[in-house]
Amino acid sequence: MSTARVDAPLVQIDKLCSAFRTAGREFVVHRDLDLRIQPGELLSIVGGSGSGKTVLLRQMLGLETPRSGRVTVMGQPAAALSAPGAASRVGMLFQHGALFSAFSVLENIAFPLRELGTLPADLVRDVALVKLQMVGLDPSQAHKMPADLSGGMIKRVALARALVMDPPLLLLDEPTAGLGPDSADALCALLRSLHRELGLTVVMVTHDLDSLFELSTRVAVLAEQRVIVSGTPREVMAFEHPFIHHFFHGERGQRAVALLPEPPPTV
């Protein structure tokens, strides 16, 4: 597998402004936000509630339109992503999985490939089965319906669907939210191995400090409508800001920091 060129950032966000209009009042989420994501990174985006983390992901996916500024994903404007074949450029794991409830597990995973229209059914099925097992599920689960799956399994199937066309960029919205500690740990381990084996670039929005410290090579903190700091977990923790103090040095933060590996992993 060829790796992407190291020089060009995979995602480039320049002077992004996003705003929503509710009941006649404008609510600004981002103002002059800049962010660059290099290939091979595992970037976590953190911030208080309402700081626009999910909106930022949706901007990268082209689901929201910037008020001003530019979002470029792999050299193309993000708005061009929702064209056919988008699954081969970006994979997205939605917070609640967003599986198609009318399809079985295997049909869900195979859906983007089948929609291409030319590949034969047996090849598509084989590819989907490989992805199913890559995310740690047994082939016997293939014919289950999403309604019969547990929360952890839904996330895994959704991950398999996001990865079915091997996109270089994977976006995760709260991957461990709503999972028990067991499934959350297992999902973290899976994400780390996929990140390593497939050479993925991963962008993750999370509240979960454990998965944040365990996975990320870089952390970007959203506050005051922009990225106030980005760097390795240790660098970010050293930054003086009320939110960072509250977030990382609270009781939960202290517990998670204790688990932080000594030398911070580098890309």
Binding site: G85, S88, G117, L123, M134, A142
Partner: protein
């Protein structure tokens, strides 16, 4: 980003003939119809030939490409293979995970027999659910009568507006057009017998007694019955129903009762409104086709149609309204938390409520056959 499509070239090397793969072997590029047709033919031709494979020139290989190669090798490693380490790990992963797909559970005679039983149980479940809903409604009505100030009156007025007021234009339009069409058709027949003035009797009885209530009920079943099912169904999908239960709020009292009350009140009003629009249409058409003036029409109407017909129509439409609301709630509460079930529930709700409206109408026709005619 220039992506070269996947290509295959045969080359004679020192160790024998060798298939060299070039370009991007990725799902998106493989799936281009022109590329795929040619490539499939070439791979099929190579399947029998014993030759070596060189993957090192591939610019990008993804799992779909790897799976394609693995399948075309007959799911075993070729004798001569030259690959990069990353490609080998990917092929190994594909090889490890390529399994015989589990067969979907086959349908046996026993399964068919059991599904028949399931069908019967489901019908029984519908009957039980319906009975429980009606019983709960009676209890809730009793509670409302005892404590009227606790009633869900805000919900009631909201539903009344959405079911009643916003349906006025469409019911008027449909009623008016039906009136015009009926008057034209009847006029043709009556003229054969020279019985022109009787159009007042025919239009009066048919529109006031039958068509007005049924027409309004069918429109409202399609319009508001489906809304009720979808609203309650989405509340199931988003767990709002469970939340209400946990908060100790009776869903019969807060969800079903206001809808049934609003429907029972809106339906007779809409029936009168639809009937009026239909009469207007019939009156205009009679004037145009047969020269029966509106003043004659209006003065002859009370003699032709007894007032008891109007009472019957209004009473009937109250029953229609209650039935539509109850059926909508019944199917809404049975929705399972997935999109497919929501769609099925809404369809079933509309079909059932229209059928029930017509059934109830037939029942009224039989029971009150001596009234008003």
């Amino acid at each position: 980003m220039q992506n070269t499509p996947p290509r295959l070239s045969r080359q004679i090397l020192s160790q024998g003939e060798c298939a060299q793969l070039l370009g991007h072997w990725t799902a998106a590029l493989l799936a281009q119809p022109a590329v795929w047709a040619g490539l499939q033919r070439e791979l099929l031709a190579l399947r029998t030939a014993q030759l070596g494979w060189d993957l090192r020139q591939i610019e990008r290989l993804d799992h779909t490409g790897a799976q394609l190669l693995w399948n075309s090798w007959g799911r075993q490693w070729p004798a001569q293979l030259q690959v990069l380490p990353a490609q080998r790990t990917m092929l190994e992963r594909v090889a490890r995970y390529t399994v015989v797909p589990p067969a979907p559970v086959p349908r046996t005679l026993r399964a068919a027999y059991l599904s028949l039983g399931e069908l019967m149980l489901r019908l029984l479940g519908h009957a039980m659910g319906g009975l429980r809903l009606v019983g709960q409604l009676l209890l809730d009505t009793g509670r409302l009568l005892r404590h009227p100030h606790q009633g869900p009156w805000r919900d009631f007025s909201g539903h009344l507006y959405h079911i009643g007021a916003t349906a006025l234009p469409i019911t008027a339009l449909v009623g008016f057009l039906i009136g015009v069409v009926l008057a034209y058709l009847i006029a043709q027949q009556l003229r054969l017998f020279g019985a022109d003035p009787f159009i007042v009797n025919i239009l009066g009885i048919s529109l006031i007694r039958e068509l007005g209530p049924v027409l309004a009920a069918i429109l409202i079943a399609g319009r508001s019955g489906s809304t009720i099912t979808a609203q309650i169904g989405v509340m199931r999908v988003t767990e709002e129903l469970d939340a209400m239960r946990v908060l100790g709020i009776a869903r019969g009292f807060r969800l079903v009762l206001p809808r049934v009350l609003a429907m029972a009140m809106a339906m007779p009003l809409l029936t009168v409104w639809t009937t009026l629009a239909a009469m207007l249409g019939g009156m205009l058409a009679s004037d145009l086709v047969m020269g029966i003036t509106p003043s004659y029409f209006v003065s002859a109407l009370p003699g032709a149609v007894k007032a008891s017909n109007l009472t019957l129509a209004v009473a009937k439409s109250v029953v229609f309204g209650i039935a539509i609301a109850l059926i909508g709630c019944h199917y809404g509460l049975r929705v399972k938390p997935n999109t497919e079930s929501l769609g099925q529930g809404t369809t079933a709700s509309v079909v059932t409520s229209i059928t029930v409206v017509i059934l109830v109408d037939a029942l009224f026709a039989v029971v009150f056959k001596d009234v008003g005619i």
